[in-house]
Amino acid sequence: MQGRRKLGRGVALVGAGMSKFDVFRDKDSKHLFAEAFKEMLLTVDKGIDPRDIDALYLGNFTNDFFVHQGHWGPIMSDLLGITPKPATRTEGACASSALAFREGVFAIASGFYDVVLVGGVEEMSKRSTEEVTDGLAMAASPYEATAGFTFPGVFGATATAYFVKYGANREHLMNVTIKSHNNARLNPKAQFNVSIRDIMNSRIERAKSKRQTIPAWRDEKEFLRDPKANPVVAWPMYLYDCCPISDGASCVLLVGEEIAKKFTDDPLYVVGIGQGSGKGLHAKEDLTYFEATRHAAQEAYELSGFKPEDVQIAEVHDCFSIAEIIHLEDLGFFKPGEGYKAVEEGLTRLDGPKPINTSGGLKCKGHPVGATGTGQLVEIWKQLRGEAGKRQVPIKDLRIGATHSLGGTGGTCTFTILERR
């Protein structure tokens, strides 16, 4: 398959690793990135000498103000013992490591480097929820912040516009949450590797042991409707519509296509990459899609020659439940206004025709913002190579997967298509 655009040289992914995503009081950014790096080394089937790495691209958003330390490129290259090789930090809010990945691809495609390490890290949990909310709001447009908008607030407003235009409601968003939890239950690296049903059962057990009134939730949706169990954050975004505050790191190893077999007999090829930028909330003509995602998708489809229906599995940036539904439409998987119906019909489940966020997504796997873009690639790496364990999708001849990242309120979006040959 050959698209209209071309990379100067093919690029392959030959290793991928991540730390567990969670809240860690005793692990800092360096610790987490070292964990991701060590796991990545183990996934390179024929081995890699870290001294052969030509360059590092590192995505990070908040460490300047949450950790009060900037200039993370050389801190990490020193940590891994790869100085004096160049280390470059990329920032694109929640898409920071997705940008690092693109830089890595371009560096190899240009012929300048042969082996590039790409990753991301974030350390967020040592700050209060209010501080994190305030810090992340720096990635919104300045007008949004002064109007009081938080990130959940921006997506809450987006949801109200979507509801009015397409007739969806809060119950439809719950389908996304329930699916994400069901998938994350099968992912030991996920921050919340429990289903909603598991959470309900543990709350009921706790109430019994404390001799409190036993909650009478009949199903998952009744639990999610209960304001005590699921309080509002920024209406109509409730706690279970929002990704958590997380710490974590992830990385992947990229090499020139013609040398990929030196590292593994089973590489993944980077066949499509795309990136877009988007206007602030006030300047958007329509709040129910992200122009940056649509542009990124168009670029990636053009490069790959693939169409949305060719993509068999994808990780998309579900920072909020409504976001996942909109991405499904912007990426062309479903028509505008049809995304919420597709989720309701189970089409995006692990065993559905188009599995989405098999890792549990940002909602349940966790969202250490700078680590998310390459973290999504780790999931697709596992799925396409048949190494996803209990959450391995049952699709026959699985060979094309994709990842989608979104930074800020849609200011930066990326789309990447990987192929196993």
Binding site: T129, E130, T133, D134, A137, P142, Y143, E144, A145, T146, A147, G148, F149, T150, P152, G153, V154, G156, A157, T158, T160, A161, V164, P231, V232, V233, A234, W235, P236, M237, G280, L281, H282, A283, K284, L287
Partner: protein, 140 residues
């Protein structure tokens, strides 16, 4: 004629003077609120300041229970959510703003499409004065 530069500093000064101002392209007539220094429709160089009438309608909104520190200082919290929204002005441009005079703890009572009127919220003291753009329902 108003000579202030077409930037956010001027925009905020105008808000402080209780004017919601935008920039209008003298060539193609496109209106931008907040002001843009460049017409992104036709790329002409000549812009002029226009004062909007301050009338609009609600396009989208959210009721925020967990806000940033400056909103918490105003007394908003999990039991007293505030409302932020997107407002389409009579002139066509859209702005993001606080929505006052509605009950953030009863989101179902707030309807998209309701007519709104501009308000200016002055906060802080003499040397550190900030004015926030807000709208409230017209029938209030």
């Amino acid at each position: 004629m108003e000579k202030r530069p077409f930037n956010d500093v001027s925009y905020e000064q105008f808000l402080n003077e209780e004017k919601l101002m935008g920039s209008k392209c003298q060539k193609c007539g496109a209106l931008f609120v907040p002001p843009r220094p460049i017409c992104i429709k036709c790329y002409a160089n000549e812009m002029e300041w226009i004062e909007t009438k301050g009338n609009g309608k609600l396009v989208a909104f959210t009721c925020i229970a967990i806000g940033p520190p400056f909103m918490i200082k105003e007394g908003y919290d999990r039991t007293h959510p505030y409302v932020s929204g997107v407002v389409e002005l009579e002139e066509g441009a859209r702005v993001v703003a606080r929505i006052e005079g509605v009950d953030g703890s009863k989101p179902e009572s707030i309807k998209i499409g309701i007519p709104l009127r501009v308000e200016f919220l002055h906060r802080g003291k003499a040397n550190n004065l900030t004015t926030f753009l807000a709208f409230k329902p017209l029938d209030l």
